[in-house]
Symmetry: C4
Subunit: 129 residues, 4 copies
């Protein structure tokens, strides 16, 4: 529970309309692999149970993928790492909706290292509700 | 229709104040061509009929361009691909307003590959209404 | 005036907390010069009279700088081009508040070409009111 | 105090769910060192007393870190520079919540110069309250 004198930090439903994991990478070190992340912040005092649904251009959605973010913890979740119920395909446009059991904050980031030089993007996700 | 226990995901009117398609690209493969995209997510259960109006610095707006995003689908729409009623000029500043028949989420992304190395930007569009 | 069946597109006061114009550029062509832009969209039917105040770390604000964005037009305003009442210093952190006479949408973009390869950032500005 | 005919510029609580300071940099000049910044704008007429709490994946939060942003000033605060009560670890995922005594605007920016070529990201932080 949030302390009564503090507002809850975040929202319970978020959307990321952009998604794309390049299959190529300049290096194989984990920090250099092309990846796309949903950075989740749970600033509250109870665990956040999170469900992620992934949408595609031409097939039904995948998921839900489930992760837990502990109280007063952040999880920088790589879509690359999701495997259950199925991996996210590479080189494929997707989007995602993230639903949490308590308020969280979600930021979307991509590191593209196909090219031998990095490119980065980031944006706070869209707070749905 | 959204299920009654779920909030609708998104808004019906969005704006992107930045727009610019570089004419140069390092490669001709589709994933390497400099491009600018409006990533649209329709997480609802009915098709989203979308109209895009494109604004310029020194002439009247172009459009509307029309696309449909199926239910539970995402469309990563490249402005490069718009041709009807007219193509979007390259190397020209523009902006856009996107109106959908049902709530959607819109994210703006550019891949600039004029340079032999990629640069990326992305931001959730501005939710107008 | 907006048509009565359409919501006004945007807000009248926006803030950009990040600002930095690198003094170096790989090229002198206008599209290659390192620059920082406030992309302004006026989707309405009357001109937007815009005032920009620029804030610094250790001195009083500069401005207001004044520009007009015509009806149904976009202006990708480069901070580099502002000279009246004074130029924006290079290699200096700044921030800005943008006030318009009618609703507009503001997006912040930087092209950094100090390096021979481009880097890009962009975000919708913060809608204050 | 804000003038009564002007809205307060910003919010008092902000969150940044993404955070990562690469340990490597192409150069040692301050403007070339890989860094992550919270750009703070205080457009009001009284000082903003700011407290930053930093969240991690697997340990309790650090902080609060305290800074002051003068009236009508901006502070581009590098997380790299925070040392009291403890430095922010490099190559480590983190997130932050920023609480100010008066309304401010917060934008998050990273310059990644591990690679000999720069990559940039930026987004307005999430306005919590």
């Amino acid at each position: 529970m949030e302390k009564t004198d503090q507002p809850a930090v975040g929202r319970r439903v978020w959307a990321i309309a952009e998604g794309y994991i390049p299959s190529g990478s300049v290096g194989q070190a984990r920090e250099q692999v092309s990846h796309e992340a949903a950075c989740l912040l749970n600033a509250g005092d109870v665990p956040a149970e999170v469900e992620i649904t992934v949408y595609f251009a031409d097939r039904d959605p995948a998921g839900p993928y489930r992760v837990t973010v502990g109280p007063r913890r952040t999880l920088h979740l790589r879509f690359n790492d999701l495997t259950d119920p199925e991996p996210i395909p590479r080189d494929t446009a997707y989007a995602s909706v993230i639903r949490a059991s308590v308020p969280v904050v979600v930021q979307h980031t991509r590191l593209d290292s196909r090219d031998p030089h990095f490119a980065l993007l980031s944006t706070v996700a869209f707070p749905v509700a």
